[in-house]
């Protein structure tokens, strides 16, 4: 007696081509599920997709907006991909971004008279330090008490939000803001230049692109990157080799959180020109999906960040034109992430149809 059965076997190696195919395939498979959400709102899914696409990439203005929104996503996601690569699940990019914004703002408000070439770099460095400090707390907790960093980094986000609220409602509240929870407007030298009439604050974009290249070089060509890869891929081997795992993880979290902090400076100095509540529509969270969809590779992460920048812009478009709530786009992101993570199954296992010979009857 024999029968055909599906069997799942571990897959030793997933080729780059397969990885790309599965990633894109999973993302495409998410679309019909998202379509159901639109149908539930009584909106034609095809029309909605078209509007999103047009809203994101349909004309020069929308493209410039897409690029603008992709800047913080890029910075956060690059940092996260490095942390995830080292198996430190930093969910705290959002809080680290806010802390970066706060630290950058402090410099901007304290030294408004400095010339731009001095003030802006100082703001960026200060933001990097702020983000990194915010990342230090969960790292120390994990080193010292083996606390799960998923929980602690997430909790730190809420604290950062409240700290920001306290500052803009309280001590940092501007004088000419008619009671709104804003700081005063930054001086001209604390404001980032933009590309033509767009909102693309290109210095931050350049920092992000440079970070991507540097990270690629770091991982593939340097001693430190070699250690990061060992710690990430096999911590047991790292111990056996005598590599200090915590030194490596600490460095990685500092870079990861620091890049999110820089993103925060970009938002206040490039877009808002002041610190206020709601400077980030969840960039730090969306960046988690971006990093994962980019397969934790710096270069593909940059591309995916632009795609998700587009999704944010297109999402705003359908809010306006189709009257859908803002949450729709978050549902999108969630469904995308689920699809990608499920697709990973096919990278780790292969499903084969095989014939199985049965020995005999079963006694029941």
């Amino acid at each position: 007696m024999s029968e055909l059965r599906f069997r799942v076997e571990p897959r030793l190696i997933a080729s780059r081509r397969l990885t790309i195919a599965v990633t894109i395939g999973s993302a495409l498979l998410a679309l019909p599920i998202i379509a159901v959400v639109f149908l539930a709102y009584g909106v034609d899914p095809l029309l909605a997709f078209e509007k999103i696409l047009y809203g994101a990439f349909g004309n020069p203005y929308s493209i410039s907006e897409t690029v603008t929104k992709s800047i913080p996503l890029m910075l956060c996601a690059l940092g996260l991909s490095l942390a995830f690569e080292t198996v430190f699940y930093n969910i705290g990019a959002e809080g680290q971004l806010l802390m970066g914004a706060i630290f950058g703002t402090w410099v901007a408000l304290k030294f408004p008279g400095w010339p731009a070439y001095l003030l802006l770099p100082t703001m960026f460095v200060s933001g990097l330090v702020g983000g990194a400090l915010w990342g230090t707390v969960p790292t120390l907790l994990r080193v010292g008490f083996e606390t799960n960093e998923v929980i602690t980094t997430l909790m730190m986000n809420y604290i950062a939000t409240r700290v920001l609220e306290y500052l803009v409602y309280g001590p940092w509240k501007g004088e000419e803001t008619w009671g709104f929870p804003y700081t005063s407007r930054f001086s001209a030298s604390a404001t980032l230049p933009t590309l033509g009439s767009t909102r693309i604050h290109y210095p931050t974009l350049l920092v992000a692109l440079a970070a991507a290249v540097l990270m690629y070089v770091l991982l593939s060509r340097t001693k430190l990157g070699f250690e990061i890869r060992i710690v990430g891929k096999n911590p047991e081997a790292a111990k056996y080799l005598g590599i200090s795992i915590w030194k490596v993880v600490f460095f990685v979290v500092m870079v990861s959180a620091g890049l999110a902090g820089i993103a925060g400076v970009g938002e206040v100095a490039g877009i808002q020109h002041r610190l206020r509540v709601g400077i980030s529509p969840g960039y730090g969270y969306t960046a988690i999906i971006v990093a994962w969809l980019g397969r934790l590779h710096p270069i593909s992460t940059v591309l995916v960040a632009v795609l998700f920048g587009g999704l944010l812009v297109g999402g705003e478009m359908i809010q306006i034109s189709l009257g859908l709530p803002f949450g729709t786009i978050q549902i999108f992101n969630g469904i995308f992430l689920l699809a990608i993570l499920s697709g990973d199954f096919l990278l780790r296992y292969r499903v084969v149809l095989s014939e199985e010979v049965k020995g005999g009857e079963m006694r029941r």
Partner: protein
């Protein structure tokens, strides 16, 4: 009357070699049948096949004389086969009764716990197991948790009960109680299959004993007509497979000197209890012993992976006790680790990268910050040729290599700095004949070169073939150190089993 019959069972775990090789095994109604063998001999694997956790690649299983196919533990349980593993799967927060109720076929769908509680009390009293159905699992000692597992199996009307090294977690008193309960179970017609590597237990408990060695059945004997000595010999083997050319060498200076070294295991128990020995240049010191007698802790202390609680280790006179792993490696200690894939390799990284895991930080592979890709590739190509590592290319990930080639890669890396001391742990475990021969040749090559070699192995053949002197370790202490030329294998086998042997 045979209850269980396993015929020609073969199981492969690629890329390692055969785990079980054409084994015939049977158990009678009302007998206690011991399955004896060293760690890695395949005892647990064979029983996991009977219990449906693995499926055999070849062979057939008969139960009550009928051909059956066991695809999962569910099938096994339905047949009346129960197994108590070394590690229990229990819900810590729940009560004993709730744990037993899981997976139990029960008449009452509603409020079944009352019935389960009654059943547990009944079984527990009958066999003197003393299990309280209302205790929560986390409150119980390891021994009590084991009795819960036994009760669980008995509540399922188990006819064949498999126990995997049950005494390893028990106190001597608990062992006595367990043996009494088992004897009563067989007097009622149940069958017990008892996995162990302890000769005393075999002699005290079993009706018959089957000895496994490297996945092969060495024989099935009546316990009453055999001796510990015979079993020890079957268990560790005595055939000399290899004729290695071992050059005569005069040992030189002392390279490693260990004095009264003690260390605790992961559970905080004293696992290494005052071990002292010396290893010289051009000398192989073999540490023979059954796994879990302190070898792991000894090696980890010597390589800087575990803190010792007292005692010293000196390398060329320099104190290396509790020094960091990297600094010990840099002083010229090569470590061929026991768990070669888990520790010795980064499976996702390329063969070339894996070959410089020790030396990536220094020239020619790196000058300060950047890595020199060309130097890394050249090194890989040279070592692949020199050691005959079979790999599609230097850039292929390490995980694509077979077990033997992974081991060659590790040796190539560890030996490339011409170490003073080579610590090799189970260096040929699970490898095929060809790779085994090559690895052993490489180790002897280090000896000829002038290195000191500390060889830790459970394989007595290997220890005898390679060592100049053999130290036998048992329960964290050296039972004795003997000259391998005058060593008798069965005596060492007995010493490994904790028997004091008079000279």
């Amino acid at each position: 009357m045979l209850v269980v019959e396993m015929k020609g069972i073969t199981k492969r775990f690629p890329p390692l070699t055969l785990a079980i090789d054409g084994v015939n095994f049977s158990a009678d109604r009302g007998e206690i049948h011991c399955l004896l063998g060293e760690n890695g001999a395949g005892k647990t694997t064979l029983m996991n096949i009977l219990y449906g956790i693995y499926s055999a690649d070849e062979g057939e299983i008969l139960f009550d004389g009928r051909h059956i196919s066991i695809r999962s533990p569910r099938d096994a349980i339905d047949l009346g086969i129960g197994m108590v593993h070394q590690h229990f799967l229990q819900v810590q927060q729940n009560t004993v009764a709730e744990n037993v109720a899981l997976g139990l076929r029960c008449e009452n769908s509603f409020f079944p716990l009352r019935e389960v509680r009654r059943l547990i009390s009944e079984v527990s009293t009958r066999y003197g197991l003393g299990v309280d159905p209302d205790a929560r699992i986390w409150q119980l000692s390891a021994g009590e948790q084991q009795r819960v597992e036994i009760v669980k199996a008995l509540c399922r009307e188990t006819r064949v009960l498999i126990l995997d090294e049950p005494t390893s977690i028990l106190t001597p008193l608990e062992v006595e109680a367990l043996f009494r309960a088992l004897r009563q179970m067989v007097s009622e017609g149940r069958t017990i299959i008892f996995i162990t590597h302890k000769l005393d237990e075999v002699m005290a408990l079993s009706n018959r004993v089957s000895v496994l060695r490297k996945g092969r059945l060495m024989g099935t004997l009546k316990t009453s007509s055999t001796t510990k000595g015979e079993l020890a010999r079957m268990m560790v083997g005595k055939e000399v497979l290899f004729h290695l050319e071992k050059q005569e060498g005069v040992p030189g200076e002392v390279v490693l000197e260990v004095e009264a070294l003690t260390a605790r295991d992961d559970r905080g128990l004293e696992a290494l209890r005052g071990v002292s020995f010396k290893v010289r240049e051009r000398e192989v010191l073999g540490i023979a012993g059954i796994a879990g007698n302190g070898q792991k802790e000894l090696v980890e202390v010597l390589t800087g992976l575990r803190e010792s609680s007292s005692g010293t280790a000196r390398l060329m006179g320099e104190d290396i006790t509790n020094k960091p792993a990297r600094s010990i490696a840099e002083k010229g200690v090569a470590h061929i680790p026991e768990e070669r894939v888990r520790r010795g390799l980064v499976p996702e990284m390329s063969v070339a990268d894996n070959l410089i895991l020790r030396s990536y930080g220094s020239p020619p592979y790196s000058g300060g910050f950047f890595l020199d890709k060309d130097a890394i590739t050249r090194n890989a190509e040279a070592l692949i040729t020199k050691y005959g590592i079979m790999t599609p290319s230097p850039t292929s990930p390490g995980k694509l290599l077979s077990g033997g080639n992974i081991q060659k890669l590790i040796l190539a890396r560890e030996l490339s700095g011409d170490p003073r001391l080579v610590i090799a742990v189970h260096p040929t475990y699970g490898l095929d004949v060809g790779a085994t021969e090559q690895i052993r040749g490489l180790i002897l090559g280090q000896r000829s070169r002038g290195a000191a070699v500390l060889l830790v192995s459970e394989d007595l053949d290997e220890v005898l073939a390679l060592s100049d002197r053999i130290a036998v370790i048992f329960e964290g202490q050296l039972v004795g150190i003997v000259d391998s030329a005058r060593a008798e294998d069965y005596k060492i086998g007995l010493m490994m089993a904790g028997e004091a042997v008079g000279e």
